[in-house]
Symmetry: C2
Protein backbone atom coordinates (compact mmCIF):
# COMPACT_ATOMS: atom_id res chain seq x y z
CA UNK A 1 0.00 0.00 0.00
CA UNK A 2 1.43 3.29 -1.08
CA UNK A 3 -0.42 5.55 1.34
CA UNK A 4 0.16 9.23 1.88
CA UNK A 5 -1.16 12.02 4.03
CA UNK A 6 -2.67 11.67 7.47
CA UNK A 7 -4.70 8.50 7.88
CA UNK A 8 -5.06 8.22 11.65
CA UNK A 9 -8.03 9.98 13.26
CA UNK A 10 -9.40 10.35 16.77
CA UNK A 11 -13.04 9.69 15.92
CA UNK A 12 -14.32 7.16 13.38
CA UNK A 13 -15.58 8.61 10.13
CA UNK A 14 -19.29 9.27 9.66
CA UNK A 15 -18.76 8.31 6.06
CA UNK A 16 -15.93 7.90 3.56
CA UNK A 17 -15.47 9.68 0.25
CA UNK A 18 -13.53 7.85 -2.49
CA UNK A 19 -12.28 9.07 -5.87
CA UNK A 20 -11.17 5.87 -7.60
CA UNK A 21 -9.71 6.48 -11.03
CA UNK A 22 -7.82 4.34 -13.52
CA UNK A 23 -4.39 4.92 -12.04
CA UNK A 24 -5.00 6.19 -8.46
CA UNK A 25 -7.39 5.84 -5.53
CA UNK A 26 -7.91 8.63 -3.00
CA UNK A 27 -10.07 8.38 0.10
CA UNK A 28 -11.16 10.84 2.76
CA UNK A 29 -12.60 10.20 6.22
CA UNK A 30 -15.51 12.61 6.53
CA UNK A 31 -17.94 14.01 9.06
CA UNK A 32 -21.63 14.02 8.22
CA UNK A 33 -21.37 17.79 7.69
CA UNK A 34 -18.66 17.37 5.07
CA UNK A 35 -15.47 18.12 7.03
CA UNK A 36 -12.37 16.15 6.13
CA UNK A 37 -10.96 14.21 9.13
CA UNK A 38 -8.18 12.38 7.30
CA UNK A 39 -7.13 11.33 3.82
CA UNK A 40 -5.09 8.69 2.07
CA UNK A 41 -4.13 7.83 -1.48
CA UNK A 42 -2.64 4.89 -3.30
CA UNK A 43 -1.57 3.79 -6.76
CA UNK A 44 -4.04 0.89 -6.69
CA UNK A 45 -6.12 2.37 -9.47
CA UNK A 46 -8.96 0.57 -11.26
CA UNK A 47 -6.59 -0.30 -14.09
CA UNK A 48 -4.45 -2.53 -11.88
CA UNK A 49 -7.25 -4.37 -10.06
CA UNK A 50 -9.52 -7.34 -10.82
CA UNK A 51 -13.12 -7.03 -9.56
CA UNK A 52 -12.54 -9.27 -6.52
CA UNK A 53 -9.58 -7.12 -5.36
CA UNK A 54 -11.46 -3.86 -4.82
CA UNK A 55 -12.93 -4.64 -1.39
CA UNK A 56 -9.59 -5.70 0.11
CA UNK A 57 -7.88 -2.68 -1.44
CA UNK A 58 -10.49 -0.38 0.06
CA UNK A 59 -10.15 -2.02 3.50
CA UNK A 60 -6.36 -1.64 3.36
CA UNK A 61 -6.84 2.08 2.78
CA UNK A 62 -9.74 2.99 5.07
CA UNK A 63 -9.67 0.23 7.74
CA UNK A 64 -8.41 2.56 10.49
CA UNK A 65 -11.43 4.80 10.00
CA UNK A 66 -14.09 2.10 10.43
CA UNK A 67 -16.15 1.17 13.51
CA UNK A 68 -16.52 -2.50 14.44
CA UNK A 69 -20.25 -2.39 15.16
CA UNK A 70 -21.53 -0.37 12.28
CA UNK A 71 -21.57 -0.18 8.47
CA UNK A 72 -19.78 3.04 7.52
CA UNK A 73 -21.14 4.45 4.26
CA UNK A 74 -18.59 4.71 1.45
CA UNK A 75 -19.47 6.78 -1.62
CA UNK A 76 -17.10 6.33 -4.56
CA UNK A 77 -16.88 7.97 -7.97
CA UNK A 78 -14.72 7.40 -11.04
CA UNK A 79 -13.65 4.41 -13.06
CA UNK A 80 -14.35 2.11 -10.12
CA UNK A 81 -17.87 2.03 -11.59
CA UNK A 82 -16.80 1.20 -15.15
CA UNK A 83 -17.47 -2.13 -16.81
CA UNK A 84 -13.86 -3.12 -16.08
CA UNK A 85 -14.06 -1.80 -12.48
CA UNK A 86 -15.46 -3.18 -9.24
CA UNK A 87 -18.98 -3.40 -10.61
CA UNK A 88 -20.62 -1.53 -13.46
CA UNK A 89 -22.67 1.47 -12.38
CA UNK A 90 -24.64 2.01 -15.62
CA UNK A 91 -24.45 5.45 -17.21
CA UNK A 92 -27.39 7.80 -16.55
CA UNK A 93 -28.70 9.33 -19.78
CA UNK A 94 -28.77 13.13 -19.99
CA UNK A 95 -30.78 15.25 -19.36
CA UNK A 96 -30.51 14.34 -15.68
CA UNK A 97 -29.07 15.53 -12.39
CA UNK A 98 -25.43 14.38 -12.15
CA UNK A 99 -24.30 11.69 -9.70
CA UNK A 100 -27.90 11.27 -8.59
CA UNK A 101 -28.62 7.53 -8.79
CA UNK A 102 -26.10 5.67 -6.66
CA UNK A 103 -25.56 1.96 -7.07
CA UNK A 104 -24.95 -0.29 -4.06
CA UNK A 105 -22.13 -2.85 -4.35
CA UNK A 106 -22.41 -6.09 -2.35
CA UNK A 107 -19.54 -6.41 0.14
CA UNK A 108 -18.38 -9.19 2.47
CA UNK A 109 -17.17 -7.01 5.34
CA UNK A 110 -19.93 -5.99 7.79
CA UNK A 111 -18.18 -2.68 8.52
CA UNK A 112 -18.76 -1.37 4.98
CA UNK A 113 -21.67 -0.10 2.91
CA UNK A 114 -20.43 0.89 -0.55
CA UNK A 115 -22.22 2.91 -3.20
CA UNK A 116 -20.93 4.01 -6.60
CA UNK A 117 -21.72 7.19 -8.52
CA UNK A 118 -22.84 6.42 -12.07
CA UNK A 119 -21.33 8.17 -15.08
CA UNK A 120 -23.34 10.09 -17.68
CA UNK A 121 -24.06 9.18 -21.28
CA UNK A 122 -25.42 11.13 -24.22
CA UNK A 123 -26.69 9.25 -27.24
CA UNK A 124 -26.34 11.92 -29.93
CA UNK A 125 -23.67 13.06 -30.40
CA UNK A 126 -22.45 9.93 -28.61
CA UNK A 127 -20.51 10.78 -25.47
CA UNK A 128 -19.73 9.46 -22.01
CA UNK A 129 -18.18 10.66 -18.77
CA UNK A 130 -17.32 8.90 -15.54
CA UNK A 131 -15.91 10.85 -12.60
CA UNK A 132 -16.40 14.39 -13.88
CA UNK A 133 -20.17 14.18 -13.17
CA UNK A 134 -19.33 14.19 -9.46
CA UNK A 135 -17.38 17.44 -9.79
CA UNK A 136 -20.30 18.92 -11.71
CA UNK A 137 -22.61 17.78 -8.89
CA UNK A 138 -20.22 19.49 -6.48
CA UNK A 139 -20.44 22.72 -8.45
CA UNK A 140 -24.24 22.53 -8.37
CA UNK A 141 -24.12 21.95 -4.61
CA UNK A 142 -21.96 25.07 -4.27
CA UNK A 143 -24.00 27.18 -6.70
CA UNK A 144 -27.51 25.65 -6.75
CA UNK A 145 -28.94 28.11 -9.25
CA UNK A 146 -26.08 27.94 -11.76
CA UNK A 147 -27.40 27.91 -15.30
CA UNK A 148 -24.34 27.98 -17.50
CA UNK A 149 -21.46 25.93 -18.72
CA UNK A 150 -18.80 23.88 -16.98
CA UNK A 151 -15.42 23.32 -18.60
CA UNK A 152 -13.24 20.50 -17.26
CA UNK A 153 -9.83 20.71 -18.99
CA UNK A 154 -7.72 17.57 -19.02
CA UNK A 155 -6.69 14.48 -20.93
CA UNK A 156 -10.27 14.27 -22.18
CA UNK A 157 -11.66 17.78 -21.71
CA UNK A 158 -15.39 18.05 -21.12
CA UNK A 159 -17.83 20.87 -21.75
CA UNK A 160 -21.09 20.51 -19.82
CA UNK A 161 -24.28 22.55 -20.13
CA UNK A 162 -26.32 22.96 -16.93
CA UNK A 163 -29.93 24.03 -16.76
CA UNK A 164 -32.32 23.80 -13.84
CA UNK A 165 -29.94 21.57 -11.88
CA UNK A 166 -29.58 19.09 -14.72
CA UNK A 167 -26.89 18.29 -17.25
CA UNK A 168 -28.62 18.89 -20.57
CA UNK A 169 -25.70 18.24 -22.95
CA UNK A 170 -21.98 17.61 -22.91
CA UNK A 171 -19.07 17.16 -25.28
CA UNK A 172 -15.68 15.54 -24.81
CA UNK A 173 -12.49 16.65 -26.58
CA UNK A 174 -9.29 14.59 -26.66
CA UNK A 175 -7.24 17.77 -26.31
CA UNK A 176 -4.94 16.74 -23.47
CA UNK A 177 -4.25 13.33 -24.96
CA UNK A 178 -3.60 14.86 -28.38
CA UNK A 179 -1.17 17.35 -26.85
CA UNK A 180 0.64 14.62 -24.94
CA UNK A 181 0.97 12.42 -28.03
CA UNK A 182 2.20 15.28 -30.23
CA UNK A 183 4.56 16.77 -27.63
CA UNK A 184 5.87 13.47 -26.32
CA UNK A 185 5.84 10.98 -29.16
CA UNK A 186 5.70 12.75 -32.52
CA UNK A 187 8.42 14.42 -34.58
CA UNK A 188 7.51 17.59 -32.65
CA UNK A 189 8.98 16.14 -29.43
CA UNK A 190 12.41 17.37 -30.61
CA UNK A 191 11.10 20.95 -30.78
CA UNK A 192 8.92 21.41 -27.67
CA UNK A 193 11.08 20.02 -24.82
CA UNK A 194 11.68 21.68 -21.44
CA UNK A 195 9.41 23.66 -19.15
CA UNK A 196 9.20 27.31 -20.28
CA UNK A 197 6.14 29.11 -21.59
CA UNK A 198 5.36 32.00 -23.96
CA UNK A 199 2.07 33.84 -23.31
CA UNK A 200 2.18 35.76 -26.58
CA UNK A 201 2.75 32.63 -28.66
CA UNK A 202 -0.14 30.90 -26.87
CA UNK A 203 -2.47 33.85 -27.49
CA UNK A 204 -1.49 34.02 -31.18
CA UNK A 205 -2.16 30.31 -31.60
CA UNK A 206 -5.58 30.64 -29.96
CA UNK A 207 -6.50 33.48 -32.33
CA UNK A 208 -5.36 31.52 -35.39
CA UNK A 209 -7.28 28.40 -34.35
CA UNK A 210 -10.49 30.37 -33.84
CA UNK A 211 -10.14 32.31 -37.11
CA UNK A 212 -9.14 29.36 -39.26
CA UNK A 213 -9.35 25.98 -37.54
CA UNK A 214 -8.29 24.06 -40.63
CA UNK A 215 -5.01 25.99 -40.75
CA UNK A 216 -3.89 24.29 -37.54
CA UNK A 217 -3.27 20.99 -39.28
CA UNK A 218 -0.91 22.91 -41.58
CA UNK A 219 0.85 24.65 -38.70
CA UNK A 220 1.86 21.63 -36.66
CA UNK A 221 4.80 20.55 -38.82
CA UNK A 222 5.90 24.19 -39.09
CA UNK A 223 6.89 23.99 -35.41
CA UNK A 224 9.47 21.37 -36.38
CA UNK A 225 10.54 23.22 -39.53
CA UNK A 226 10.96 26.53 -37.67
CA UNK A 227 13.04 24.74 -35.05
CA UNK A 228 15.28 23.41 -37.83
CA UNK A 229 15.46 26.56 -39.96
CA UNK A 230 15.04 29.42 -37.49
CA UNK A 231 15.96 28.03 -34.05
CA UNK A 232 12.40 28.41 -32.73
CA UNK A 233 12.62 28.44 -28.91
CA UNK A 234 11.17 25.29 -27.31
CA UNK A 235 9.04 27.35 -24.89
CA UNK A 236 7.50 29.22 -27.82
CA UNK A 237 6.92 26.03 -29.77
CA UNK A 238 5.30 24.38 -26.74
CA UNK A 239 3.01 27.34 -26.03
CA UNK A 240 2.03 27.46 -29.70
CA UNK A 241 1.29 23.72 -29.81
CA UNK A 242 -0.81 24.07 -26.65
CA UNK A 243 -2.63 27.06 -28.16
CA UNK A 244 -3.33 25.14 -31.37
CA UNK A 245 -4.95 22.14 -29.69
CA UNK A 246 -6.81 24.17 -27.06
CA UNK A 247 -7.84 26.64 -29.78
CA UNK A 248 -9.27 23.83 -31.90
CA UNK A 249 -11.30 22.71 -28.89
CA UNK A 250 -12.56 26.24 -28.22
CA UNK A 251 -13.47 26.69 -31.89
CA UNK A 252 -15.59 23.54 -31.79
CA UNK A 253 -17.02 24.35 -28.33
CA UNK A 254 -18.06 27.90 -29.25
CA UNK A 255 -21.76 27.09 -28.80
CA UNK A 256 -20.95 26.17 -25.20
CA UNK A 257 -18.97 29.24 -24.09
CA UNK A 258 -20.32 31.99 -26.35
CA UNK A 259 -22.46 34.29 -24.21
CA UNK A 260 -22.50 31.87 -21.25
CA UNK A 261 -20.82 32.08 -17.86
CA UNK A 262 -18.15 29.37 -17.74
CA UNK A 263 -17.04 27.57 -14.59
CA UNK A 264 -13.62 26.01 -15.16
CA UNK A 265 -12.93 23.05 -12.89
CA UNK A 266 -9.22 22.61 -12.24
CA UNK A 267 -7.17 25.26 -10.40
CA UNK A 268 -4.08 24.19 -12.32
CA UNK A 269 -1.74 25.73 -14.86
CA UNK A 270 -3.93 24.16 -17.53
CA UNK A 271 -7.07 25.67 -15.99
CA UNK A 272 -5.39 29.08 -16.00
CA UNK A 273 -4.49 28.69 -19.69
CA UNK A 274 -8.13 27.90 -20.50
CA UNK A 275 -9.20 30.92 -18.47
CA UNK A 276 -6.75 33.18 -20.32
CA UNK A 277 -7.91 31.88 -23.69
CA UNK A 278 -11.58 32.39 -22.83
CA UNK A 279 -10.89 35.92 -21.60
CA UNK A 280 -9.07 36.65 -24.87
CA UNK A 281 -12.21 35.49 -26.71
CA UNK A 282 -14.45 37.72 -24.61
CA UNK A 283 -15.97 34.95 -22.47
CA UNK A 284 -16.38 35.18 -18.68
CA UNK A 285 -15.02 32.37 -16.58
CA UNK A 286 -14.03 31.55 -13.03
CA UNK A 287 -11.88 28.71 -11.79
CA UNK A 288 -12.75 26.10 -9.16
CA UNK A 289 -10.56 23.62 -7.34
CA UNK A 290 -11.17 20.12 -8.68
CA UNK A 291 -10.55 18.14 -5.50
CA UNK A 292 -12.79 20.42 -3.44
CA UNK A 293 -15.63 19.92 -5.95
CA UNK A 294 -15.13 16.15 -6.01
CA UNK A 295 -15.54 16.11 -2.22
CA UNK A 296 -18.54 18.45 -2.43
CA UNK A 297 -20.15 16.20 -5.05
CA UNK A 298 -19.51 13.04 -3.04
CA UNK A 299 -20.94 14.80 0.02
CA UNK A 300 -24.10 15.71 -1.91
CA UNK A 301 -24.39 12.08 -2.99
CA UNK A 302 -23.88 10.90 0.61
CA UNK A 303 -26.60 13.27 1.80
CA UNK A 304 -28.99 11.68 -0.69
CA UNK A 305 -28.32 8.25 0.80
CA UNK A 306 -29.21 9.54 4.25
CA UNK A 307 -32.24 11.40 3.06
CA UNK A 308 -30.71 14.60 4.43
CA UNK B 1 23.45 -7.36 -44.20
CA UNK B 2 19.79 -7.97 -44.74
CA UNK B 3 19.74 -7.97 -48.55
CA UNK B 4 16.86 -8.89 -50.77
CA UNK B 5 16.04 -9.19 -54.46
CA UNK B 6 18.55 -9.95 -57.22
CA UNK B 7 21.92 -8.45 -56.58
CA UNK B 8 24.11 -10.36 -59.01
CA UNK B 9 24.41 -8.94 -62.53
CA UNK B 10 26.29 -9.91 -65.70
CA UNK B 11 27.55 -6.43 -66.52
CA UNK B 12 28.78 -3.83 -64.03
CA UNK B 13 26.41 -0.95 -63.38
CA UNK B 14 26.84 2.30 -65.30
CA UNK B 15 25.71 4.02 -62.13
CA UNK B 16 23.91 3.20 -58.90
CA UNK B 17 20.71 4.73 -57.57
CA UNK B 18 20.23 4.81 -53.78
CA UNK B 19 17.19 5.75 -51.69
CA UNK B 20 18.57 5.96 -48.15
CA UNK B 21 15.93 6.77 -45.58
CA UNK B 22 15.84 6.78 -41.79
CA UNK B 23 14.98 3.10 -41.42
CA UNK B 24 15.89 1.47 -44.78
CA UNK B 25 18.37 1.68 -47.63
CA UNK B 26 17.52 0.55 -51.15
CA UNK B 27 19.94 0.47 -54.07
CA UNK B 28 19.59 -0.26 -57.78
CA UNK B 29 22.27 -1.12 -60.35
CA UNK B 30 21.37 1.03 -63.37
CA UNK B 31 22.27 1.43 -67.03
CA UNK B 32 23.05 4.91 -68.29
CA UNK B 33 19.66 4.91 -70.03
CA UNK B 34 17.84 4.26 -66.77
CA UNK B 35 17.15 0.52 -66.90
CA UNK B 36 17.33 -1.43 -63.66
CA UNK B 37 19.89 -4.27 -63.77
CA UNK B 38 19.60 -5.40 -60.15
CA UNK B 39 18.42 -4.18 -56.79
CA UNK B 40 19.05 -4.71 -53.11
CA UNK B 41 17.71 -3.39 -49.84
CA UNK B 42 18.71 -3.44 -46.21
CA UNK B 43 17.56 -2.25 -42.81
CA UNK B 44 20.75 -0.21 -42.36
CA UNK B 45 18.86 3.08 -42.42
CA UNK B 46 20.37 6.46 -41.62
CA UNK B 47 18.93 6.24 -38.11
CA UNK B 48 21.13 3.26 -37.19
CA UNK B 49 24.42 4.52 -38.67
CA UNK B 50 27.18 6.86 -37.54
CA UNK B 51 28.71 9.04 -40.30
CA UNK B 52 31.81 6.86 -40.68
CA UNK B 53 29.69 3.72 -41.24
CA UNK B 54 27.91 4.83 -44.42
CA UNK B 55 30.69 4.03 -46.90
CA UNK B 56 31.21 0.47 -45.62
CA UNK B 57 27.44 -0.09 -45.54
CA UNK B 58 27.16 1.09 -49.14
CA UNK B 59 30.06 -1.15 -50.24
CA UNK B 60 28.46 -4.16 -48.54
CA UNK B 61 25.30 -3.54 -50.53
CA UNK B 62 26.62 -2.56 -53.98
CA UNK B 63 30.14 -4.08 -54.04
CA UNK B 64 29.19 -6.80 -56.57
CA UNK B 65 28.09 -4.13 -59.06
CA UNK B 66 31.38 -2.15 -59.07
CA UNK B 67 34.30 -2.27 -61.52
CA UNK B 68 37.83 -2.40 -60.15
CA UNK B 69 39.32 0.19 -62.52
CA UNK B 70 36.67 2.86 -62.45
CA UNK B 71 34.70 5.11 -60.12
CA UNK B 72 31.03 4.13 -60.51
CA UNK B 73 28.74 7.10 -59.88
CA UNK B 74 26.34 6.68 -56.96
CA UNK B 75 23.44 9.14 -56.61
CA UNK B 76 21.61 8.97 -53.28
CA UNK B 77 18.54 10.75 -51.94
CA UNK B 78 16.80 10.83 -48.57
CA UNK B 79 17.88 11.22 -44.97
CA UNK B 80 21.42 10.13 -45.87
CA UNK B 81 21.91 13.85 -46.61
CA UNK B 82 20.50 15.08 -43.29
CA UNK B 83 22.60 16.71 -40.58
CA UNK B 84 22.58 13.38 -38.72
CA UNK B 85 23.33 11.41 -41.93
CA UNK B 86 26.49 10.65 -43.92
CA UNK B 87 27.14 14.33 -44.58
CA UNK B 88 24.75 17.26 -44.65
CA UNK B 89 23.52 18.23 -48.11
CA UNK B 90 22.14 21.69 -47.28
CA UNK B 91 18.53 22.37 -48.18
CA UNK B 92 17.90 24.29 -51.43
CA UNK B 93 15.50 27.21 -50.87
CA UNK B 94 12.35 27.29 -53.00
CA UNK B 95 11.60 28.46 -55.64
CA UNK B 96 14.05 26.11 -57.35
CA UNK B 97 14.21 22.98 -59.47
CA UNK B 98 14.07 19.95 -57.16
CA UNK B 99 17.09 17.66 -56.63
CA UNK B 100 19.14 19.93 -58.86
CA UNK B 101 22.31 20.74 -56.89
CA UNK B 102 24.03 17.51 -55.95
CA UNK B 103 26.67 17.42 -53.25
CA UNK B 104 29.76 15.23 -53.60
CA UNK B 105 30.77 13.17 -50.54
CA UNK B 106 34.48 12.32 -50.07
CA UNK B 107 35.02 8.53 -50.10
CA UNK B 108 38.02 6.30 -49.41
CA UNK B 109 37.27 3.57 -51.95
CA UNK B 110 38.53 4.34 -55.47
CA UNK B 111 35.65 2.41 -57.06
CA UNK B 112 33.05 4.92 -55.79
CA UNK B 113 31.96 8.45 -56.62
CA UNK B 114 29.06 9.46 -54.34
CA UNK B 115 26.69 12.41 -54.68
CA UNK B 116 23.71 13.33 -52.49
CA UNK B 117 20.46 15.02 -53.50
CA UNK B 118 19.70 18.03 -51.29
CA UNK B 119 16.34 18.53 -49.62
CA UNK B 120 14.18 21.62 -50.05
CA UNK B 121 13.39 24.35 -47.55
CA UNK B 122 10.82 27.14 -47.46
CA UNK B 123 11.27 30.00 -45.03
CA UNK B 124 7.67 31.20 -44.70
CA UNK B 125 5.65 29.30 -43.76
CA UNK B 126 8.66 27.35 -42.47
CA UNK B 127 8.87 23.92 -44.04
CA UNK B 128 11.38 21.27 -45.10
CA UNK B 129 11.49 18.08 -47.15
CA UNK B 130 14.20 15.52 -47.78
CA UNK B 131 13.62 12.62 -50.12
CA UNK B 132 10.29 13.66 -51.62
CA UNK B 133 12.02 16.29 -53.80
CA UNK B 134 13.57 13.44 -55.80
CA UNK B 135 10.14 11.96 -56.52
CA UNK B 136 8.94 15.40 -57.58
CA UNK B 137 11.99 15.65 -59.88
CA UNK B 138 11.01 12.24 -61.26
CA UNK B 139 7.51 13.49 -61.99
CA UNK B 140 8.94 16.52 -63.79
CA UNK B 141 11.20 14.23 -65.82
CA UNK B 142 8.15 12.18 -66.81
CA UNK B 143 5.90 15.19 -67.48
CA UNK B 144 8.26 18.09 -68.28
CA UNK B 145 5.51 20.66 -68.84
CA UNK B 146 3.51 19.83 -65.70
CA UNK B 147 2.21 23.00 -64.03
CA UNK B 148 0.12 21.81 -61.16
CA UNK B 149 0.24 20.26 -57.75
CA UNK B 150 1.88 17.15 -56.37
CA UNK B 151 0.43 15.38 -53.32
CA UNK B 152 2.65 12.91 -51.47
CA UNK B 153 0.53 11.17 -48.82
CA UNK B 154 2.35 9.58 -45.90
CA UNK B 155 3.58 9.99 -42.34
CA UNK B 156 4.29 13.62 -43.19
CA UNK B 157 2.15 14.35 -46.24
CA UNK B 158 3.45 17.00 -48.62
CA UNK B 159 1.64 19.26 -51.05
CA UNK B 160 3.95 20.77 -53.69
CA UNK B 161 3.20 23.45 -56.26
CA UNK B 162 5.10 23.21 -59.55
CA UNK B 163 5.48 26.00 -62.06
CA UNK B 164 7.90 26.20 -64.99
CA UNK B 165 9.87 23.20 -63.77
CA UNK B 166 10.36 24.66 -60.30
CA UNK B 167 8.91 24.00 -56.88
CA UNK B 168 7.37 27.34 -55.95
CA UNK B 169 5.78 26.40 -52.59
CA UNK B 170 5.07 23.40 -50.42
CA UNK B 171 3.33 22.45 -47.22
CA UNK B 172 3.76 19.49 -44.88
CA UNK B 173 0.95 17.91 -42.84
CA UNK B 174 1.52 15.45 -40.01
CA UNK B 175 -1.55 13.49 -41.09
CA UNK B 176 -0.07 10.00 -41.18
CA UNK B 177 1.72 10.43 -37.87
CA UNK B 178 -1.40 11.88 -36.27
CA UNK B 179 -3.47 8.94 -37.53
CA UNK B 180 -0.91 6.43 -36.25
CA UNK B 181 -0.77 8.06 -32.80
CA UNK B 182 -4.56 8.28 -32.49
CA UNK B 183 -5.26 4.80 -33.88
CA UNK B 184 -2.39 3.08 -32.12
CA UNK B 185 -1.76 4.85 -28.85
CA UNK B 186 -4.79 6.90 -27.80
CA UNK B 187 -8.04 5.85 -26.13
CA UNK B 188 -9.36 5.36 -29.69
CA UNK B 189 -7.09 2.32 -30.17
CA UNK B 190 -9.77 0.20 -28.47
CA UNK B 191 -12.31 1.24 -31.10
CA UNK B 192 -10.46 1.16 -34.45
CA UNK B 193 -8.67 -2.23 -34.40
CA UNK B 194 -8.54 -4.76 -37.24
CA UNK B 195 -8.25 -4.36 -40.98
CA UNK B 196 -11.66 -3.63 -42.53
CA UNK B 197 -12.78 -0.41 -44.24
CA UNK B 198 -15.99 1.52 -44.82
CA UNK B 199 -16.09 3.72 -47.93
CA UNK B 200 -19.28 5.49 -46.91
CA UNK B 201 -17.97 6.36 -43.44
CA UNK B 202 -14.75 7.70 -44.98
CA UNK B 203 -16.67 9.86 -47.47
CA UNK B 204 -18.94 11.23 -44.74
CA UNK B 205 -15.95 12.13 -42.59
CA UNK B 206 -14.27 13.93 -45.51
CA UNK B 207 -17.43 15.97 -46.13
CA UNK B 208 -17.73 16.90 -42.46
CA UNK B 209 -14.08 17.96 -42.22
CA UNK B 210 -14.38 20.19 -45.28
CA UNK B 211 -17.66 21.77 -44.16
CA UNK B 212 -16.65 22.31 -40.54
CA UNK B 213 -13.00 21.57 -39.77
CA UNK B 214 -13.32 22.60 -36.11
CA UNK B 215 -16.01 19.96 -35.58
CA UNK B 216 -13.43 17.23 -36.08
CA UNK B 217 -11.83 17.85 -32.71
CA UNK B 218 -15.27 17.25 -31.20
CA UNK B 219 -15.83 14.08 -33.21
CA UNK B 220 -12.72 12.16 -32.26
CA UNK B 221 -13.88 11.09 -28.80
CA UNK B 222 -17.32 10.25 -30.25
CA UNK B 223 -15.67 7.29 -31.99
CA UNK B 224 -14.89 5.85 -28.56
CA UNK B 225 -18.28 6.79 -27.12
CA UNK B 226 -20.17 5.25 -30.06
CA UNK B 227 -18.13 2.08 -29.67
CA UNK B 228 -19.17 1.93 -25.99
CA UNK B 229 -22.81 2.95 -26.41
CA UNK B 230 -23.77 1.77 -29.89
CA UNK B 231 -21.26 -0.97 -30.83
CA UNK B 232 -19.74 1.11 -33.62
CA UNK B 233 -17.96 -1.32 -35.98
CA UNK B 234 -14.14 -0.98 -35.84
CA UNK B 235 -13.92 -0.77 -39.65
CA UNK B 236 -16.37 2.14 -39.65
CA UNK B 237 -14.55 3.86 -36.78
CA UNK B 238 -11.20 3.43 -38.55
CA UNK B 239 -12.49 4.77 -41.88
CA UNK B 240 -14.07 7.72 -40.09
CA UNK B 241 -10.87 8.50 -38.18
CA UNK B 242 -8.91 8.33 -41.43
CA UNK B 243 -11.46 10.59 -43.12
CA UNK B 244 -11.27 13.10 -40.27
CA UNK B 245 -7.48 13.51 -40.37
CA UNK B 246 -7.23 13.41 -44.18
CA UNK B 247 -10.21 15.76 -44.39
CA UNK B 248 -8.52 18.26 -42.06
CA UNK B 249 -5.47 18.15 -44.34
CA UNK B 250 -7.58 18.65 -47.46
CA UNK B 251 -9.46 21.55 -45.83
CA UNK B 252 -6.17 23.29 -45.08
CA UNK B 253 -4.65 22.39 -48.48
CA UNK B 254 -7.62 23.66 -50.48
CA UNK B 255 -5.56 26.41 -52.12
CA UNK B 256 -3.31 23.65 -53.49
CA UNK B 257 -5.88 21.31 -55.02
CA UNK B 258 -8.78 23.63 -55.86
CA UNK B 259 -8.90 24.04 -59.65
CA UNK B 260 -5.48 22.43 -60.14
CA UNK B 261 -4.53 19.06 -61.61
CA UNK B 262 -3.14 16.92 -58.79
CA UNK B 263 -0.51 14.22 -59.23
CA UNK B 264 -0.65 11.84 -56.25
CA UNK B 265 2.63 10.03 -55.64
CA UNK B 266 2.09 6.65 -53.99
CA UNK B 267 0.18 3.83 -55.71
CA UNK B 268 -0.90 2.50 -52.35
CA UNK B 269 -4.16 2.07 -50.45
CA UNK B 270 -3.49 5.45 -48.90
CA UNK B 271 -2.93 7.04 -52.31
CA UNK B 272 -6.23 5.58 -53.49
CA UNK B 273 -8.02 7.04 -50.45
CA UNK B 274 -6.60 10.49 -51.24
CA UNK B 275 -7.69 10.07 -54.86
CA UNK B 276 -11.22 9.11 -53.79
CA UNK B 277 -11.44 12.07 -51.41
CA UNK B 278 -10.24 14.52 -54.07
CA UNK B 279 -12.71 13.12 -56.60
CA UNK B 280 -15.49 13.55 -54.05
CA UNK B 281 -14.45 17.20 -53.72
CA UNK B 282 -14.48 17.73 -57.47
CA UNK B 283 -10.70 17.77 -57.96
CA UNK B 284 -8.89 15.88 -60.71
CA UNK B 285 -6.04 13.60 -59.76
CA UNK B 286 -3.95 10.75 -61.09
CA UNK B 287 -1.76 8.35 -59.15
CA UNK B 288 1.93 7.60 -59.75
CA UNK B 289 4.11 4.83 -58.40
CA UNK B 290 6.49 6.21 -55.79
CA UNK B 291 9.45 3.89 -56.37
CA UNK B 292 9.33 4.43 -60.13
CA UNK B 293 9.44 8.22 -59.60
CA UNK B 294 12.30 7.96 -57.12
CA UNK B 295 14.32 6.06 -59.75
CA UNK B 296 13.29 8.52 -62.46
CA UNK B 297 14.35 11.45 -60.23
CA UNK B 298 17.68 9.84 -59.36
CA UNK B 299 18.22 9.15 -63.08
CA UNK B 300 17.57 12.79 -63.90
CA UNK B 301 20.08 13.78 -61.22
CA UNK B 302 22.60 11.29 -62.61
CA UNK B 303 22.16 12.73 -66.10
CA UNK B 304 23.01 16.18 -64.74
CA UNK B 305 26.30 14.84 -63.35
CA UNK B 306 27.24 13.49 -66.78
CA UNK B 307 26.10 16.61 -68.59
CA UNK B 308 23.68 14.42 -70.60
Amino acid sequence: MNSTDSNSIEHPADWIAVDWGTSRMRAWAMTAAGTVLASTSSDKGMGSLAPHQFEATLLDAVGPWLRQDHRTPVVACGMVGARQGWMEAPYQAVPCAPAAELMAVPVADARLSVQLCPGLKQLSPADVMRGEETQVAGLLATRPGFDGVVCLPGTHSKWVRLQGGQVTAFQTFMTGELYALLAGQSVLSHSVGGQGWDDEAFAGAIDLALENPAAISARLFSLRAEALLADLAPATARARLSGYVIGLELAAARAYWDGQPVAIIGATTLGLHYGAALEQLGAQSDIHDGEALTLRGLHAAYQQTTGA
